[in-house]
């Protein structure tokens, strides 16, 4: 196609994406990074303050709380979602009546706007209104149970909501992985007398190692993006005790108008997510080669 590839044609094709990407993704990242080292107040000249904003965050108990909550959500979600949605994929991969419809239904929460997901779950988790709270109390949980809005349980409830909205998504990835497994290996194992569990344990799981890795990485990056759920369920309260990193960043930047610390937080969130995303890009490149 060399005769179509004049220099100006290449520039013309590439320029719009590159210019917009540079101006609205790359430049803003640099901008945030720069302001994370300044004392910018929204007006006047920003002064360079070195690592002061980062040091300030290290002294900020709300930051540590947000980090802790983010990791609680991360750990609980991954522990439940990876085996859970893999099991669900195995289940829905069998020839059950209505399996196709169920796969579609289970995926549905993934397309609901996170802000709406949060609102729906208020009516399950709220101590006064929530059906789940009432059921748990009826089953013997203390009357004072606060699934959201209390001191300790909110991150676990956020994890539950995240699990709900991601289970079908993760199941769909596992299901696609299951379908790519060579059928002859399975048949051979079945002929050799391997039970269902043995086949899963010794053939399916080892062969899908990559799918497990990719799903985990995607779910982890999605956990770092959780914002709306916290925003709707508790707004981070009481007194920032249920904040996650992103919601706290949003508060510091757009409510408190402390741009320096806010951008420092944004940089930290980005770094945490970037480490995981680079792993993801690495994984899909490895697969291309294989």
């Amino acid at each position: 196609m060399i005769w179509l590839s004049t220099r100006w044609r290449i520039v013309l094709m590439l320029a719009p994406a590159v210019v917009i990407f540079t101006a609205l993704i790359l430049y803003p990242v640099g901008y945030s990074l720069y302001y994370s080292f300044t004392d910018f107040k929204g007006f006047g000249e920003p002064h360079f303050v070195g690592l002061e904003n980062y040091a300030g965050l290290m002294q900020d108990p709300f930051f540590w709380r947000a980090l802790q909550n983010t990791f609680i959500i991360l750990v609980v979600s991954i522990i439940v979602l990876i085996p859970g949605s893999f099991g669900l994929a195995l289940l829905l991969h069998r020839r059950l009546p209505g399996a196709g419809v169920m796969r579609a239904l289970v995926f549905a929460p993934a397309i609901i706007a996170p802000i709406l997901v949060g609102l729906i779950w208020v009516f399950l988790l709220d101590p006064k209104l929530g059906i789940l709270s009432k059921v748990l109390v009826a089953l013997g949980a203390p009357d004072t149970l606060q699934l959201i809005g209390g001191d300790t349980l909110t991150p676990y409830s956020v994890a539950l909501v995240f699990i709900w909205s991601s289970a079908g998504f993760a199941m769909t990835i596992f299901y696609a992985g299951l379908q790519m497994l060579p059928a002859d290996v399975m048949e051979a194992a079945a002929l050799d007398g391997a039970t269902g569990w043995q086949r899963v344990r010794h053939i399916t799981i080892p062969m899908m190692r990559e799918t497990f890795a990719i799903t985990s990485v995607l779910l982890i990056t999605n956990v770092f993006k959780i914002f709306e759920l916290v925003y709707v369920l508790t707004s981070g309260g009481p007194v920032h005790r249920s904040e996650v990193l992103v919601s706290y960043m949003y508060f510091v930047t757009f409510t408190n108008l402390q741009y320096g610390p806010g951008m420092a937080l944004a940089v930290i969130v980005t770094l945490l997510g970037a480490i995981v995303s680079i792993g993801y890009l690495f994984l899909i490149r490895e697969r291309k080669r294989a």
Partner: protein, 280 residues
């Protein structure tokens, strides 16, 4: 495969487990739809009472909620930003995969440059883009949202389009060129029709994103007449305070069309949203 007429016990147990899990996952949505027909006062005390079911919540919602406006706004945003984002990403991807650069390395470097955006979470962009919009005088207009939506879509679109174009055989393009097609006719007449599956995936993925997007909208739109679906939903709690029935009716009204559209395009939506993981 065994061809017994009566299902084995394992299948029965598996089916029951699957139905139960599916029901549990659907339960929250069913629950709020049920509550939306309940009198507000009853929801906190007796949510199960069937004698107090009412349509009143829907009447309130239809009269208080700017349904038409918020859907029209969001649709406009989605159509403009998704079209622009897909268009410029497709152009760039075509250049990055098919055109011949004088320096090969530069070609893959540009691709990696755009793909690096996959690692950038939108949250680090919020404040800078807010400032840029203020500076350019876009703040509070649709353009303030369209611009970041287009930008944010570029990395994923490029990943998908370049991946697709690489696997596409070149014979058809070559014969079109031999027949004397120029770049424009080649792309519009041959490449785009062949790329329809990838384009559909990109469009669906991005439309879902724009419809559900909240952080940018919450910061860049301050005018109620420009409200989007997500923004309107975020205000339900303040708007309906203790009118829980109204809140649930509003939530249901937003949810139902989304689920209907999902039901129609179910296969494509599931493929589109997981394609990053499945195909790479």
């Amino acid at each position: 495969m065994t061809t017994k007429r009566r299902p084995r016990r394992g299948v029965v147990i598996a089916s029951i487990a699957a139905y139960l899990i599916t029901f549990l996952i659907l339960f929250p949505v069913l629950w709020i739809s049920l509550l939306s027909f309940q009198e507000s006062g009853q929801i906190s005390t007796r949510p199960f009472s069937f004698d107090t079911l009412t349509l009143e919540n829907y009447v309130t919602t239809f009269t208080t909620l700017p349904l038409l406006r918020m859907y029209a706004n969001t649709l406009l945003l989605a159509v403009v930003s998704v079209t622009l984002g897909a268009l410029i990403s497709f152009m760039a991807s075509y250049a990055l995969v098919r055109m011949v650069f004088r320096r090969r390395r530069l070609q893959s470097a540009w691709r990696l440059y755009l793909l690096a955006g996959l690692a950038v979470p939108v949250y680090i962009l919020l404040f800078p883009i807010y400032r840029i919009d203020l500076l350019l005088g876009l703040y509070g207009t649709y353009a303030s949202l369209i611009v970041p939506y287009v930008a944010v879509s570029i990395p994923f679109n490029t990943l998908l389009f370049t991946g697709f174009l690489r696997e596409l055989p070149t014979e058809l393009e070559e014969s079109a060129i031999i027949d004397g097609a120029g770049l424009w006719r080649l792309v519009t007449g041959v490449i785009v029709p062949l790329s329809r599956p990838a384009i559909a995936t990109v469009l669906i993925f991005n439309v879902v994103y724009v419809f559900n997007e909240f952080p940018f909208a919450s910061i860049l739109i301050n005018n109620p007449s420009l409200t989007t679906v997500s923004l309107a939903v975020s205000q339900f709690q303040g708007q309906y305070t203790v009118n829980y029935g109204g809140m649930m009716a509003a939530a249901t009204i937003v949810l139902i069309p989304q689920l209907i559209i999902y039901a129609i395009f179910q296969r494509q939506v599931m493929a589109g949203m997981t394609v990053g993981a499945v195909k790479g």
